[in-house]
């Protein structure tokens, strides 16, 4: 069922203390990397492991590290992305607040691998507690000589800064995040140049998700092959899934990639809440297309979910039952994306605004014939035409909702009311 690797000790309240972390074999991987491996060897090992970006895009980490130009004399930076703002997602938070040293160690090894001497962890501003835990871990690591000058006598120097955000989902997007760290407004940047070439302060920069980097110590300890032996052929290792919505036991679960969705929802999640019928599943965070009940056996890995017409995304599985109006869901989501658009490019800035107005009027029972077609055409005018993928993120769930529940959308317009009224009382 669960395969607890990154999350092995998260239930131990002392894991946040460096002594406990050390007693669990902590910082061995860092020591091994610094003392026994050259940076390229570390990158090789991570390539071998096949670990892919856990922040949403799923790009192989080792490959990305390889993009840093060898000949560029500028300093290099590592940025650990702990912005975690994708609705439904709260897995990085668990790692940061319950096993912060794991994150620090992963960041340290990765920094060494890419030749960085200053690493940032960007934590969303609302995560005050996780940020405190990370601050504490960083301090302890400095005291014990796992950070700072001449780490473990190897001559390698690394400083680490915990940088907190101010409430902006877009600052999870890597280029905006770099602007945010630079003290600019968190507006997305055009690519090229990619961060690996010109990122933070226009220097080569690697941005990786917290979970991605947290996996690195295990890869170094047990070898890339060991990691690659888990999961499927193309989707290696384990992944954290945030299970939320209408299930009995919501929570974060670490699974081997390729585990069927049904295992997560029914076996681990204990099935549907109060025995209601399943209506839809958002499998990878609010930006991913929805799945239907008959797809519940789909395997949770990058390829299978793509085949199923959706994405693994950040691994946030949102379970929606029969009592839910899909237009109501769509309204929540589009409101979010409109609110979070940085405002740089026209299609995202104005398109999300228009979509929100259309969808909420339908939800209010004031929809007009043709609204659905209009929404579809607007989505088409946003998809793939924006500076950063937020535009796509905004339209994918809407498009899929219309595709899968068109009759419900039409009903809503014709009858000026919901097919099922979503009224969820809190206990």
């Amino acid at each position: 069922m669960e395969k607890k690797i990154l999350t092995k000790y998260i239930d131990d309240p002392n894991q946040v203390n460096i002594d406990t972390y050390l007693s669990h074999g902590g910082y061995k991987a860092l020591e091994k990397a610094l003392k026994e491996m050259k940076p390229p060897e570390v990158i090789e090992e991570v390539k071998k492991s096949g670990v892919r970006g856990r922040g949403g895009a799923g790009f192989p980490a080792g490959v990305k590290w390889g993009f840093i130009p060898k000949d560029n004399p500028k300093p290099r930076y590592l940025v650990c992305n702990g912005d975690e703002s994708e609705p439904g997602t709260c897995k990085d938070r668990v790692l940061m607040e319950s096993d912060p040293h794991g994150v620090v160690e992963g960041m340290a090894i990765s920094s060494y691998a890419i030749g960085s001497h200053l690493a940032f962890i960007y934590i969303r501003g609302e995560f005050a507690y996780p940020a405190r835990m990370m601050e504490k871990a960083v301090e302890e690591a400095y005291e014990k000589g796992y950070l700072g000058k001449n780490i473990l006598g190897t001559g390698y120097d690394l400083d680490m800064i915990v940088h907190t955000g101010g409430g902006a989902y877009i600052c999870g997007e890597e280029s905006s995040q770099l602007n945010s760290i630079e003290g600019e407004r968190g507006m997305s940047r055009m690519r090229p140049p990619f961060p690996a070439v010109a990122g933070l302060y226009a220097c080569p920069t690697i941005v990786n998700n917290v979970e991605t980097l947290a996996a690195v110590p295990f890869i170094i300890n047990n070898g890339g092959d060991w990691y690659a032996s888990m999961g499927t052929e193309k989707s290696n290792g384990t992944k954290l899934f945030s299970l939320s919505g209408h299930v009995k036991n919501p929570g974060n679960y670490e699974l081997e990639l390729g585990t069927p969705l049904s295992v997560l929802i029914n076996d681990l999640g204990g099935g549907m809440l109060d025995g209601h019928k399943l209506k839809a599943i958002i499998p990878g965070g609010s930006s991913t297309p929805m799945l239907l009940p008959d797809q519940i056996d789909v395997k949770l890995d990058y390829e299978s979910l793509a085949e199923a017409g959706s994405m693994l995304g950040s691994g946030a599985v949102i379970v929606i039952d029969e009592r839910t109006c899909m237009i109501w869901v769509a309204e929540r989501l589009i409101h979010f994306y409109r609110h979070e658009s940085c405002g740089k490019c026209t299609p995202c800035r104005d398109g999300t605004g228009w979509l929100e107005q259309l969808i909420s009027r339908i939800e209010r029972g004031e929809g007009k014939p043709g609204d659905i077609e209009k929404i579809e055409s607007l989505c088409g005018n946003i998809m793939g035409r924006t500076v950063c993928p937020l535009g796509d993120a905004a339209v994918m769930p809407i498009e899929s909702s219309i595709k899968l529940f068109r009759d419900e959308w039409e009903y809503h317009i014709q009858n000026k009311k919901c097919m099922v009224k979503s009224e969820f009382a809190f206990k």
């Binding site: 658009s341 405002g343 490019c345 026209t346 104005d350 228009w354 035409r385 500076v387």
Partner: protein
């Protein structure tokens, strides 16, 4: 298809094109005449890729690409007008129009709005958007949702399409900090920081680059529709930078001035003085007829009467006492035809060298200042500043004196990573970008320059052969002495010397304080030494920047009594005779008038009573004259003293040229006919000359060849020698210890601009700028009134506390007729000094 490594071949709409690597698809397309619409793109700004209107289709690319931000690639195949592109473009327009108000009929931008034009072109509308348009409401009762964000600028956020051009230009090009984007997403708005306003010298450009009517200015607003105007090519008549302008006129009225991009000079930016300065000619109180003094009143007269009287008087003086008893002063803001006619009238007709243009200067030399004029005749190009890795500014508050040169310096620093060093008696805005801006004790520049020379020699950083010899001649100057006198640490002087020696390409720029200084000949000498020691003549350019629109022209056209040999030769070339008498410089004219040796003065376009840095003396001088003729565009403190006043036309009323600080002659055209019965100066002069039975020309064009010859750039001059001139400290009266600087206020130039409503809206009254430290000492706050008292005069001024002044120097402004500060100044003192006493408001 193969590319050589710096050129890329690609296909756009079926056409082959080869462009340099790094070119954007947009620029490549334009280079072969294919237009792609843009909103957020601007030729002088980094691409933002924000508006998305410039989509193109590129083979093998999954999605539409923004051409403004996509670099060309080998064998790229680009479609700029495919189905998909047009669809994408329409979609963007539809998004932009969604919340864009349909107030074109009441919008000032109507008729010249990029959005309006593109919308018509693509037949897009906002009809699919059936919601109420979003309003950024400021004032619940206003239907226009206007917000005034500066003295001139009004913002209507509803119309803003968030191209961010204003914000980007303001920050990246002008380096200003008064406009930014606030909030985010679809409620983003363009605004000032809380409690501040957009009042920089460049603010008008923001309005000009706004593609829609989101930023408009009071100047043009609701006055006329753009399609009812015609445009005329013109040139700015204020400072010496020589920005190119387009004047927008209808019948006898000019409605606005905008930039006419010239990449050699202004790159499409102009300062507010140039933009709003056209309002001066448009003022109500222009002189429209001649006036003749009858008793103590000046009564309107015809040109016949006025000219008759003048020629009679001039003839009498000429015949009885000689033309040398008439003195001539003409403003360097006047055109080349007029300057030359003036000089020709005095030299050829009156056989006198009493011509001058240097009203605002300190004591003028009584012989030709050869070193100085040699230095000023060196070639200097604004655009070449970009080529320098070191920019070295001497005695210039560039932003105030040369706004456009300042932008070029900024560009060199921020975009071409040049470094800036400055020597100024007061911290400057430009200095903010400097690696080291050395604020020295006022008056110590000469000592400091000598110190630099010694430092170059002592650190043996010089290849100059006669260095050691110069060293001896320079003693007793030492670095230590320079340091003591200037207050700049020895280490800083030495490191500056090092930087200068090591730089590959230097632009040395000297400004107003130096050009108008008494000891400018000595300073010129010191600069020449420095250039020789550091090899600057061979590795860069030296710009001793002239001040007014045609000061350079005045120098080259020899509107001065004492000329270098070469100028005299030139004049002898074009004229058969040249007066062999020694002419009077302005100071001498005033003094001889007081001594009753000079009978008459002929002044054109200069308000000596305010400009001459010795208010009391000049008054006496002018009053003592038997016969004073003044031509000007409005009544001034000086015309009031005249026996005959003549109405002068302004540069928007005739056709001629200015010579900018680079020595480039730039033609300007007439936008309107002369106002009232006013005439261009060259015609006034010629009519007077005709009165003396000696017309200067039938057709003005006859003078053009002469002017051409005089404006010829001087053939290579690199025949410089060192000249050791010892620094002499100026004695001062201990009772008056605070140095006083007098300059143009940021939004003003000379004494005319207070007549421009727009410029007055930025600043309309004189004030005294003092340092926070001094304010504390005196226990005064912003707005307190102090009495400013010098050995010869006093005046009350409100204080303004400025972070730019960090020493006990005070600065006053010469642009306000209500409080003339020249009564404090002493022509023979290099540094004016005053004492302050608080009158009210501690």
């Amino acid at each position: 298809m193969s590319d050589d490594n710096n050129n890329i071949n690609l296909t756009i709409d079926g056409q082959q094109v080869s462009v340099p690597r790094g070119t954007t698809v947009l620029e490549a397309a334009r280079s072969i005449g294919i237009e792609i619409p843009t909103f957020c793109w601007h030729p002088k700004l980094k691409p933002a890729g924000a508006c998305r209107i410039c989509y193109v289709e590129i083979e093998k690319a999954r999605t539409l690409m923004v051409s403004c931000a996509t670099e060309v690639g080998p064998d790229m195949v680009v479609q700029t007008a495919s189905e998909k592109v047009l669809q994408g473009r329409k979609a963007v327009l539809e998004f932009i129009l969604m919340n864009h108000p349909l107030d074109c009929p009441t919008c000032d931008k109507g008729g010249e709005c990029d959005l309006q034009n593109l919308t018509f072109k693509h037949g897009v509308d906002d009809s699919r958007f059936d919601f109420k348009k979003y309003r950024h409401i400021r004032d619940k009762n206003s239907t226009f949702d206007d917000l005034r964000i500066g003295p001139e600028i009004i913002r209507n956020q509803n119309r803003c399409i968030l191209c961010y051009k204003c914000v980007r230009a303001n920050k990246d090009i002008f380096g200003e900090q008064d406009l930014g984007a606030y909030q985010r997403g679809n409620i983003t708005e363009i605004n000032t920081p809380p409690g501040e306003q957009v009042d920089s010298l460049y603010s008008g450009n923001l309005v000009e680059i706004c593609p829609v009517g989101a930023l408009t200015n009071t100047d043009w607003r609701y006055k006329i529709r753009v399609w009812n105007t015609q445009t005329v090519d013109s040139v700015c008549s204020y400072c010496a930078d020589g920005c190119n302008l387009t004047l927008w006129k209808n019948k006898q009225k000019v409605y606005r001035a905008t930039s006419r991009r010239n990449d050699n000079i202004d790159e499409g930016w102009i300062c507010d003085v140039g933009r709003y300065g056209y309002q001066v000619p448009m003022t109500e109180d222009r002189l429209t007829t001649p006036l003749i003094k009858k008793g103590d009143a000046q009564v309107p007269a015809t040109w016949e009467e006025a000219l008759g009287l003048i020629s009679e008087k001039f003839k009498k003086i000429k015949d009885e006492r000689g033309g040398v008893c008439i003195g001539g002063l003409i403003s360097p803001n006047l055109d080349s035809l007029s300057l030359h006619t003036f000089s020709k009238f005095f030299r050829k007709i009156l056989n006198s060298n009493n011509v001058d243009f240097r009203a605002g200067y300190k004591m003028l030399p009584e012989k030709s200042d050869d070193l100085y004029s040699k230095l000023t005749s060196l070639p200097f190009k604004i655009a070449d500043i970009e080529k320098s890795d070191l920019i070295f500014v001497l005695d210039s508050d560039l932003t105030k004196e040369h706004p456009i040169v300042n932008l070029r310096v900024r560009k060199a620093i921020t975009q071409k990573n040049a470094s800036l060093f400055a020597l100024n008696p007061i911290a400057t805005q430009t200095g903010g970008l400097a690696t080291d801006e050395m604020v020295y004790n006022i008056g110590a520049l000469h000592a400091l320059l000598n110190g630099l020379c010694v430092s170059l020699i002592d650190q043996n950083l010089t290849q100059y052969e006669n260095a050691s010899d110069l060293k001896n001649r320079l003693s007793p100057n030492t670095i230590e002495k320079a340091s003591n006198i200037s207050g700049i640490e020895v280490a800083r002087i030495n490191s500056l010397a090092k930087v200068i020696a090591e730089a590959k390409n230097i632009s040395l720029i000297a400004g107003e304080l130096l050009t108008s200084a008494i000891n400018r000949e000595e300073l010129a000498g010191a600069i020449i030494n420095l250039c020789l020691l550091a090899g600057i003549f061979d590795k860069g350019q030296v710009g001793v920047l002239s001040q007014a629109a045609n000061s350079k022209g005045a120098e080259k056209l020899a509107v001065m009594p004492h000329l270098s040999e070469r100028s005299i030769l030139k004049l002898k070339q074009i004229w058969d005779n040249y007066p062999d008498n020694d002419g009077l410089a302005l100071d001498q004219m005033i003094r001889s008038s007081i001594k009753e040796e000079l009978d008459s003065m002929f002044i054109i376009g200069s308000n000596l009573m305010l400009e001459y840095p010795d208010g009391a003396v000049v008054k006496e001088g002018l009053e003592k004259l038997d016969f004073l003729v003044v031509a000007d565009i409005c009544e001034t403190e000086t015309t009031q003293l005249a026996d005959v006043v003549l109405p002068l036309s302004t540069w928007v009323e005739y056709e001629s040229s200015f010579v900018n600080l680079e020595g480039v002659e730039q033609k300007f055209n007439a936008a309107i006919k002369p106002i009232g019965f006013s005439l261009p100066a060259y015609q006034i002069i010629n009519k007077i000359s005709q009165g003396l039975k000696t017309p200067l020309f039938e057709m003005i064009d006859e003078l053009i060849p002469e002017i051409k010859t005089l404006l010829q750039p001087d053939e290579n001059q690199n025949s410089f020698e060192t000249c050791a001139i010892e620094y002499i400290e100026e004695k001062q009266n201990p009772e008056f210890e605070i140095p006083l600087l007098v300059s143009n206020e940021l939004h003003h130039f000379g004494y005319y601009t207070e007549k421009s409503n727009s410029l007055s809206s930025f600043c309309s009254e004189a004030f005294l700028e003092i340092s926070p430290g001094l304010a504390e000492k005196l226990d005064v706050k912003e707005g307190s009134i102090v009495r400013v008292e010098s050995e010869i005069g006093k005046i009350n001024l409100p204080v303004k506390i400025s972070e730019y002044i960090d020493n006990d120097v005070v600065r006053a402004y010469r642009n306000f007729s209500a409080s003339p500060v020249n009564i404090l100044q002493m022509r023979k003192r290099n540094v004016d000094r005053v004492k302050l006493t608080v009158v009210e408001g501690t």
